[in-house]
């Protein structure tokens, strides 16, 4: 089990005939073989992914009809990405992962407005590395081999920083249920909070790693919910302690504006919710492992019982509060 994607996911790539689209479709297909075709308007035919021939369609609707695709990975240029997302939603695709970086904010505002209230389709990204359920399905640009099947869910706004955290887990023998890059833009599809809720409800996830950064208040919103309702241990890291206000730190959404969205405020909100916050990016893995060990010690028996039903793993404030202090 996992969230969003598994071995049954059937993926099409929008923009599969472009160089980035083709390259990553090839890698995703090599990883777990879930790619079933692609879409490039005006280029219907066939694409050769390193020896594997897959059909290319002019429209998403046609691709869904012919291949039964239920997920899409978008690699179209920024100027056309909003249209591509809405085309995928219109075709009834349940999971849309948009990798494209540099989409105008107003285009994403329109996309969010158009998708509001639709629970039959979910957007991940844009400007994200994608989603992976290790060993089962990879949709995106992340290197597959750094992941390992397991029971920790990872949520992040960035790419390489996520790889860093995942690698710390994998090299310490801790596998992942699913890893989601929600993207670095100010307006994105799935928020930290929505991703946390998915992991909280996933019987195959035991703990959650939440990686945030400066800008907006998505981490604070997730923290407030986690403090009240989350049944699973959460470890967080926030990047951008040293970022100057008013400057966009690479990601369009990573900006402290009007004194809002600082790393300090986010860390405070996370700690107030009983979340263990890693002091540096080098100890994200260690922080999770020591938290899990601590919980195992304090839990009287059946320490490995992972099928957490509501309330079964009760939250005891004493064991939740991280003892760490700066």
């Amino acid at each position: 089990m996992s969230i969003l994607v598994d071995q049954n996911t059937r993926v099409i790539f929008q923009g599969i005939t472009g160089s980035a689209g083709k390259f990553h479709a090839t890698h995703c297909h090599k990883y777990a073989g879930n790619v079933v075709g692609g879409v490039t308007p005006g280029r219907a035919g066939e694409v050769d992914l390193d020896g594997v021939k897959l059909p290319v369609f002019d429209t998403c609707a046609e691709a869904v009809k012919q291949t039964g695709a239920n997920a899409s990975c978008i690699f179209v240029p920024a100027a056309f990405a909003a249209d591509a997302i809405l085309e995928a939603a219109d075709a009834g695709i349940a999971l849309i992962v948009c990798i494209t970086e540099g989409i105008p904010v107003n285009d994403m505002v329109k996309v969010k407005r158009a998708l509001a209230g639709r629970d039959d389709t979910r957007l991940i990204g844009p400007n994200c590395p994608g989603v992976i359920t290790p060993g089962q399905c990879k949709i995106g640009i992340m290197p597959g081999y750094i992941h390992k099947p397991g029971r920790v869910g990872v949520i992040s706004r960035s790419g390489t920083l996520t790889y860093e955290a995942v690698w710390q887990l994998t090299t310490r023998g801790v596998g992942q249920s699913t890893c989601i890059g929600i993207g670095g833009d100010p307006v994105n599809g799935t928020s930290h909070l929505e991703a946390v809720k998915l992991f909280n409800d996933d019987p195959a996830t035991d703990a959650i790693v939440l990686i945030g950064e400066i800008g907006g208040s998505a981490e604070e919103e997730a923290a407030a919910w986690i403090g009240e309702y989350c049944r699973k241990p959460v470890v967080a890291y926030i990047a951008g302690m040293t970022a100057p206000p008013g400057r966009r730190m690479g990601h369009a959404g990573a900006v402290i504006s009007g004194g809002k969205g600082t790393a300090a405020a986010k860390i405070e909100a996370l700690r107030a919710a009983g979340i263990a916050v890693a002091e540096t990016p080098a100890v994200i893995g260690e922080t999770l492992i020591s938290l899990l060990k601590k919980r195992q010690r304090t839990r009287p028996r059946k320490a490995s019982a992972p099928r957490a039903k509501q309330g079964k793993i009760s939250k005891k404030p004493a064991q939740k509060k991280p003892a760490k202090r700066k």
Partner: protein, 403 residues
């Protein structure tokens, strides 16, 4: 991207928003021509205001805003202002050179209000904000008297509705013709925000003011614009308003090479792939008692050319005492990246210690290549080790900072 005040006022005019008479001048002669236009409209006794055009606030106190009553005074003030370096609390000690001035008629201000359009990230929709506390720092108003700020979320499918503008005008205490004028202004500013892909339009103050003929209305006296860089491709006219003179030359150089660079005032230069990891690298340097000189994201697939340009950029900062390269090679393999670092380090003379931390695909091969390159590269394992080593190399003790 930011623009000058005169450009903002040109945009306002384009969207049917009334602004003072006048315009930009780059010479005393042009300033006199603007003066003549203003007196032609408002009579020979009309006074003009001459404002230095730089991308920074606080111009008034620094001598960048002056009044004139005659053609000669207008020419004299302009002559004095152009070419002068203006130092305000927002320019930093080096100041900004004034290259043009804005000459306009003078408004008689009765009340100062605040109005802004921006993105509400939580709602994922635009929001309009208004306050009776114009002319003040809105962040302070929000902190001290939040009840004085009113906000409306805009449905992007509808745009700002007239009733929303009327609600805001009512909250601002505008009535009669002023309420009508205020609502018209707000609706037009929203339209400008949306159609020009702005990320912020802030009018502070939005003033109830009389023009030289005594006609009272609501006008945007000063405005701050930010544009969504990702949308500039569809606004060539706005992109052309960019003034490289107003930008940090290091930023201009970096953007030429497709690098994401932000200069800071520390002494450890950083080169990282990925924005999140780049921020995290700055943070861990600080955590070990050092101070980052910059944010630099070379992107996922950094080429030798980009890495070379990045080294040149980092080495041009004379505060830099040590460099840290932190790369997580994913799809881009570490051996390829190591080859890029070696080629770039050979092409650029690096006068300070260089610490390299590689992780990811083919990392062992990459590390071996660095060691065998003969370059004085300090290799590190893990981010903590890298931060400790680079802080020591820069002259710090590499001990965790305690708060």
């Amino acid at each position: 991207m930011n623009i000058h005040e005169y450009q903002a006022k040109e945009l306002f005019r384009r969207f049917g928003i009334a602004v003072e008479k006048g315009g930009v001048a780059r010479t005393p002669e042009e300033a006199v021509a603007r003066y003549d236009e203003i007196t032609a409209a408002h009579g020979q006794n009309a006074q003009v205001v001459i404002k230095a055009q730089i991308h920074a606030g606080g111009r008034g106190k620094a001598g960048g805003v002056k009044f004139a009553k005659t053609r000669d005074e207008t020419a004299a003030v302009t002559r004095e202002m152009i070419g002068k370096t203006l130092v305000t609390h927002q320019t930093g000690p080096q100041g900004r050179v004034v290259r043009s001035v804005l000459v306009t008629s003078v408004m008689k201000v009765q009340r100062e209000l605040y109005f802004a359009v921006l993105l509400d990230r939580t709602a994922s929709r635009p929001a309009v904000i208004a306050s009776t506390e114009g002319g003040m720092d809105i962040e302070q108003v929000a902190a001290k008297t939040p009840e004085k700020i009113v906000k409306e979320i805009i449905d992007p499918a509808l745009g700002m509705m007239p009733f929303q503008a009327r609600k805001l005008c009512r909250a601002l205490g505008l009535s009669g013709d002023l309420a009508t004028a205020g609502a018209k202004l707000m609706l037009n500013v929203y339209r400008l925000f949306w159609e020009c892909d702005c990320s912020l339009v802030e009018i502070n103050p939005m003033a109830v003011a009389a023009d030289p003929d005594g006609k009272v209305s609501v006008s945007p006296l000063d405005a701050k614009f930010n544009f969504d860089d990702n949308a500039l491709f569809r606004h060539p006219d706005i992109a052309a308003m960019r003034d490289p003179n107003e930008e940090d030359p290091r930023d201009v150089e970096a953007s030429k090479h497709g690098l994401n660079y932000i200069g800071l005032d520390g002494n450890i230069g950083c080169m990282v792939n990925g924005a999140g990891l780049a921020m995290a690298t700055m943070d861990i340097i600080k955590y070990y008692g050092g101070s980052p000189a910059n944010f630099l994201d070379v992107g996922g697939g950094a080429s030798v050319e980009q890495v070379t340009a990045a080294f040149q950029l980092l080495c041009s900062d004379h505060n830099v005492k040590a460099l840290l390269v932190n790369i997580f090679g994913g799809i881009m393999k570490c051996d390829i990246l190591a080859a890029g670092i070696i080629a770039a380090a050979k092409a650029v003379h690096i006068p300070v210690p260089l610490v390299v931390r590689l992780e990811g695909t083919n990392v062992e091969l990459g590390k071996k290549m660095l060691q065998e390159s003969g370059l004085p590269i300090i290799t590190a394992t893990g981010m903590a080790d890298a931060a400790e080593k680079v802080v020591k190399a820069a002259g710090g003790n590499g001990v965790k900072e305690m708060e």
